[in-house]
């Protein structure tokens, strides 16, 4: 039971990461119609920026500020130089161009930081555990990630649903031409939304630094999970991204933790291990297929729009 609780929290923590990535990706895909495969590169940019800032300043707080700032600037440049030209193009062009960006960013990272992974230590103040339930110590740093992620999710929800910037973003997802005819510079709005999504991805990268190694290609694995999240949630929906991220995070973590044990109850240990490993890595795709059969447009498709 305690183990389950701990794994559940780990699942939530993965979910929070996925949400930070998915929020930007779903806004960019839902509003501008661009499939940005290089979203993972922005996550990587955040991780490298925080590693560098930590090495130079020794301050973890500064590192966590540097991560979204750097990713936001990289994102802004990416939008102005490349993405802006892709809005009117078809999805294949977008996939090819943003795949090219992945190669570009990986090479830039290799030239600047070398191919060896960088390791960030969890700051000593946060490197302890706290007992949430008696007998179940949980790392403070992971708990902080959960809290930070939930805070960002709450802020984002208020921003999108209550603020004027949020209403412009929602208006832009239905009728950009009308928005421009009312005096809104839609090009600039898109660039800012893109940079904002990049900042969220960069923040996730900064948070991930001490848990994973900061290395080239770290964005690609999590990008696939992120796409699963936004498809499950309904493309363009922040609420959907949140629900999808938690579902995927928990399903993936619990699957890996408990499937081997469950299967061993029924099968010989050797076979159970093999099958469980396969099933665990398939779990989120099975989840996605099931949800799409039930709700083809995802859990929370944005209202007022036909089709995708």
């Amino acid at each position: 039971m305690l183990l389950f609780f701990e794994q559940l929290l780990n699942g939530v923590q993965l979910g929070v990461f996925l949400f930070l990535l998915a929020a930007g990706l779903t806004l960019i895909f839902g509003i501008m119609g661009v499939i940005n495969l290089a979203h993972g590169s922005l996550y990587m940019a955040g991780a490298f920026a925080s590693a560098l800032a930590l090495r130079l300043s020794g301050s973890f707080t500064l590192a966590l500020i540097a991560a979204p700032l750097a990713a936001g600037l990289v994102g802004l440049a990416m939008e102005v130089i490349v993405i802006r030209r892709l809005y009117a193009r078809d999805h294949l062009d977008q996939v090819l161009a943003t795949f090219g960006l992945i190669l570009f960013f990986n090479e830039i990272a290799a030239i600047s930081f070398g191919r060896q992974p960088l390791f960030m230590n969890i700051p000593p103040a946060l490197n302890s555990t706290v007992e949430l339930l008696p007998g179940a110590p949980y790392p403070v740093y992971r708990l902080l990630i959960i809290i930070a992620g939930l805070l960002v999710a709450g802020l984002l929800y208020v921003l999108i649903s209550r603020s004027r910037a949020g209403s412009l973003i929602r208006a832009g997802s239905t009728d950009q031409e009308m928005l421009s005819a009312l005096g809104i510079n839609v090009k600039m709005l898109f660039a800012l939304v893109f940079a904002f999504g990049a900042m969220l991805a960069g923040f996730a990268g900064g948070l991930a630094g001490p848990l994973l190694s900061v290395e080239i290609g770290m964005g690609e694995n999590i990008l696939i999970l992120t796409f699963v999240v936004i498809v499950i949630g309904g493309i363009g929906s922040i609420r959907g991204a949140f629900a999808g991220a938690l579902l995927v995070g928990i399903a993936d973590t619990l699957g890996r933790a408990f499937l081997p044990g469950l299967l061993k109850l029924m099968l010989p240990p050797a076979e159970a291990d093999g099958i469980a490993a396969g099933l665990a890595s398939m779990a989120i795709y099975i989840l996605m297929a099931g949800i799409l059969i039930w709700r083809p447009a995802g859990l929370f498709p944005p209202q007022g729009r036909s089709g995708a």
Binding site: R164, S167, L168, R170, A171, S173, T174, D175, E177, M178, L179, S180, A181, L182, G183, I184, N185, V186, P302, Q303, G304, R305
Partner: protein
């Protein structure tokens, strides 16, 4: 105030406007009439920069707007109420009014506030929390006008101001436009209701096959019933 000179506009290869010229003066209401497909909507879209003219000039308040982006044209002081209203469906009535509002722009007359829009259209106040998609046609048209007014334009452009609305709602829209005109706002309006247009506007333009083929005052328009049969199909 608005000068349109010899604009030619294309959709791909096919030409829709053939040297359209007209002007709207300060405080004036001008109508654009003609049968369907004669270029009225295209003319308005060209003025707004949504379907840019390939040749000719568009000037507004002394500024050259020929190649300007739509948002720059709107910011120069033109409020646009498009055909089909195009209310933002996922925004509430309140958000539709405030999202693109520009209180500082105050082009002509007094600045528009939420309160003034609600005074003009009390129904919008009652429904301010509802989503734009849930409004009736008449309410959507009121909202589209209110939304444009909140950008504090000097010229209001309306495409099919009362199309598809019930007679009572039409009268309400015409009364509102009359009040706006008396307030000093310039208006360029496309509609089919000749009687109401003749009462509202000073000058009328009739389009046929991408050209302006007749222009004149309300008296001239009403004095020539043949005109309506030949060019307006009424």
């Amino acid at each position: 105030m608005l000068q349109v000179e010899h604009i030619e506009t294309f959709y791909g290869q096919s030409q829709a406007l053939f040297g359209v010229s007209f002007s709207v003066e300060m405080g004036e209401a001008v109508t654009l009439m003609g049968r369907n497909g004669m270029g009225k909507t295209t003319t308005l879209r060209s003025v707004m920069g949504l379907t840019p003219a390939a040749a000719g000039h568009i000037r507004f308040a002394g500024r050259e707007l020929t190649a300007a982006a739509p948002h720059a044209i709107a910011r120069a002081g033109i409020g646009y109420v498009p055909e089909g209203r195009r209310i933002f469906p996922t925004l509430s009535v309140l958000e539709n009014l405030t999202a693109t509002a520009a209180p500082g722009r105050a082009g002509g007359g007094t600045g528009w506030t939420l309160q003034r829009v609600f005074d003009m259209f009390p129904k919008l106040k009652e429904r301010q929390r509802q989503m734009g998609a849930l409004l009736s046609g008449g309410e959507q048209q009121m909202l589209a006008i209110g939304r444009a007014l909140m950008t504090n334009p000097r010229l209001l452009i309306l495409d099919e101001a009362t199309e598809g609305l019930a007679p009572l709602v039409r009268r309400e829209i015409w009364n509102c436009l009359e009040a706006l005109k008396n307030d000093g706002l310039s208006i360029l309006v496309v509609d089919k209701n000749i009687d109401a247009l003749a009462r509202l506007a000073d000058r009328h333009l009739i389009m046929d096959k991408g050209r302006i083929v007749w222009s004149g005052t309300s008296e001239a328009l009403e004095a020539d019933p043949e005109l309506g049969r030949r060019l307006l199909g009424v």
